[in-house]
């Protein structure tokens, strides 16, 4: 009775989550440029379109470049901060932790508008690199949270042993801290990368008039009607996210990363 209820409930939730994606996947293989489901005919040409059509290709290139760079920048900000907070007792430094989490907690339109007024005021509005900085600040929360979690899991006696044996700060960081923290750096980077790839409003408000990322391209295309390439891009994005998070889960401890401390329980 309970098992049946549970299975039915999970099935319905799964259906709710999957249904839009199933329809979009179906639409993406239509032979002609029609919005039809079930698909009429079968063609993968709309997937080819992402790479062959110069507009979609340049949007894809812009999005991937932006995501790669901004995720790296976000990690570069988060790593020293998380390390400092773990290594030192400096209560007032927690304010920076708070600042790192704030952009992600507030409604995104606020961070976006703040950055828009800022770039307009300093005169760099519309420069592609401003999007990199903006995304890095917007998503710095993700590596910051995973890294803070990573540092708390380091056994301090290991570090202490190294110090007793005469290793200096630099050696300790390179030979002990860094290898232990590496999985958390990778997952923090992965989270920031995937979210940056999908981000619309901050990118739109900072560089929307000079550069098209894929989400911006989809939105602009939506306003002028429908093209099946939107559907193929959607499926490409879902698959990318699933593969990246799947890899994080495969090589890391996903339940623990998401806050479940009793990960060794099962």
């Amino acid at each position: 009775m309970t098992t049946i209820f549970r299975k039915a409930y999970f099935f319905l939730i799964g259906l709710f989550l999957a249904l839009p994606l199933i329809v979009v996947a179906g639409v993406s293989v239509n032979a002609k440029q029609t919005l039809a489901f079930p698909p009429q005919g079968f063609s993968l040409s709309w997937y080819g379109e992402i790479f062959l059509n110069p507009e979609w290709r340049s949007a894809l290139f812009a999005s991937v470049t932006l995501a790669l760079l901004s995720a790296a920048f976000a990690v570069a900000i988060a790593l020293p901060l998380a390390w400092f907070l773990w290594r030192r007792i400096a209560p007032w430094a927690n304010i920076f932790q708070l600042l790192g989490v704030a952009p992600f907690t507030l409604p995104p339109v606020i961070t976006a508008l703040g950055l828009l007024t800022f770039w307009a005021t300093v005169g760099f509005y519309g420069q592609p690199w401003t999007a990199v900085v903006s995304h890095a600040i917007f998503f710095v929360t993700l590596p910051l949270v995973t890294l803070s979690l990573g540092f708390t899991s380091i056994d301090r006696s290991l570090v202490e042993a190294a110090a007793t044996m005469g290793a200096d700060e630099r050696t300790i960081f390179r030979t002990i801290v860094l290898p232990l923290i590496l999985p958390y750096i990778v997952s923090g980077y992965a989270f920031a990368f995937v979210l940056s790839l999908n981000e619309y409003i901050v990118a739109y408000m900072t560089v929307g008039f000079t550069m098209e990322t894929l989400p911006i391209k989809i939105f602009n295309a939506l306003r002028y009607g429908y093209t099946p390439t939107m559907a193929s891009v959607t499926i490409l994005f879902v698959t990318t996210a699933a593969v990246i998070f799947g890899l994080v889960a495969r090589f890391g401890d996903l339940p623990k990363l998401l806050g479940a401390m009793s990960s060794d329980g099962k």
Binding site: I77, A90, L113, T121
Partner: protein
Amino acid sequence: MRREPPQTLGDYAPLLFPAAMLTIFFVVPFGTMIAVSFFQRQQGGFYTPAFVFDNYARFLSAFFGGVLGFSLLLAITVAICCVVLALPFTYMLTRMGRKVQVVWLVALLSILSLSEVIIGFAWSTLFSRTAGITNILVALGIMSEAKALTPSFGAVLTGMVYQAFPYTVLVLFPALVRLDPTLTEAARTLGASPLKAFFTVVVPALRNTITATLIMVFIFALGSYLLPQLLGRPQHWTLSVLITDQAIYQSNMPFAAAMAVFLVLVTLGLVALTVIAGRKGEAA
């Protein structure tokens, strides 16, 4: 090596770069936005430094009150729907095997990371006349002919619940994992059905978590800026949509900034409530 207070100025060096970046690119833009909210708007999309309350005075209109009321109501509805759906789901998920958990978590994360543009597009396809869900109902003989379900309030609500559901599960997940399993076991031993045990033991034990989650999902839903545009009519526009619209299409930065400042205040007030709810939870 124990944690120790910084001894020399050099010990602060690692903090320098993150602190500078966060200050220059978050605190300063935030301040800029607050400043602009007091600026005087000029014709043609420009604005000049001033200290006027005109932009805030516009809040007192019936139109703005309507938008604000609708935004809050919509966000509350989304939060309630999500928590009602996600609580039993997450509870059962935490009691499943690790492998099943990981598969669901990967799926939820993938959907959570999806762009609002993509979610909006996917649901507008599902609600469309030619490729939508009504075609299935027609095939089953429930409906006589396919029709479009968007734009409508139902479509906006569905899209936003879809967007916020994975977030709700991930917020509830840590609290539910840590929930003492002996609580329900005791209830079951004493003869309660699983359903009764869930409602009389699990839900009351999580009262503060539920409150905190409701507020967090509410804030999350307040931030939705594209779904009301893509799935709804202009009367379904929220404060976030209005801010974007004023900033980009009406080129009225000071008014957009004033609305954003207002939204920050609402959000911060709610975050404070969450923290208080969390404190009570620890005390209990």
